[in-house]
């Protein structure tokens, strides 16, 4: 089971992960990652009230599917599920889910990290912040060099 979904609705991480082993006995390990909307203070010290995620419909799915295909070429995966939400999310809400299944743990761990690193830097999503004090300073989250570096680790010559 390989699946990529972009949706506004919440997801059930446990139910998603369970689908990877449903009806089969060759899966030896499932790694899951759930990314949440975090309420930490911004540069101005004020907390985050909400995030709005904009995406490029069509390309978002295709770009993630290209990375799932690359993960399958690099590791012996038995399944992978990626769910990425869009729309307005508040602190504590789940944003993104990645699960990978393999016969042995190493491939599942590596592929999950690979998929998350590429999601951060190449899936066409953009976050806009609303501050708790109601201020709107333009609001678009800036990309981080540390995320580019994380994705670059996987580059192959």
């Amino acid at each position: 089971m390989f699946s990529v979904r972009i949706q506004e609705a919440p997801f059930d991480a446990a139910a998603e992960a369970a689908r990877l082993a449903q009806g089969r006995t060759d899966v030896g390990g499932i790694v899951t990652f759930t990314g949440l909307c975090r309420a930490d203070a911004g540069a101005d010290g004020m907390g985050l009230a909400a995030l709005t995620l904009e995406h490029y419909p069509g390309m978002a799915e295709e770009e993630i599917e290209r990375h799932v295909a690359e993960a399958r070429a690099r590791w012996p995966l038995l399944g992978a599920i990626v769910v990425h939400r869009h729309g307005r999310l508040v602190p504590g809400d789940p944003i993104v889910f990645v699960a990978t299944a393999s016969a042995h743990r190493a491939a599942a761990f590596a592929a999950a990290e690979f998929l998350m690193d590429w999601l951060k830097t190449s899936a066409p999503f953009w976050k806009k912040e609303e501050r708790a004090d109601g201020a709107d300073a333009g609001g678009w989250v800036e990309a981080k060099a540390s995320d580019d570096a994380a994705a670059d680790r996987w580059a192959r010559d």
């Binding site: 069509g58 953009w126 800036e142």
Partner: protein, 83 residues
């Protein structure tokens, strides 16, 4: 060709998408960004720091020197912040 804008590029241009017919000498993504920037103040503002603007041709990431030949959909957007 169809041009799509996302995030702050969309806000600055004031449009999510538009249909344009650039002249033949507009051959690459960088040429198109320069040509669009020359259309009006809103486009000029969107592309004022062209080095940070990313592009996709027919839903695939490309570099500024990518050719527009045969392309139907061009998207311009800031560096991505998903995940």
């Amino acid at each position: 060709m169809k041009i799509l804008y996302f995030a702050w590029l969309r806000e600055r241009v004031g449009l999510a998408e538009e249909e344009v017919a650039p002249p033949a000498e507009v051959a690459t993504v960088a040429d198109l960004a320069r040509w669009l920037a020359g259309r009006d103040e809103a486009h000029a503002y969107a592309f004022e720091n062209a080095a940070v603007v990313r592009a996709a041709l027919d839903r695939r990431h490309v570099k500024p020197d990518a050719s527009l030949a045969g392309v139907r959909e061009v998207a311009f957007f800031p560096p991505m912040t998903g995940g």
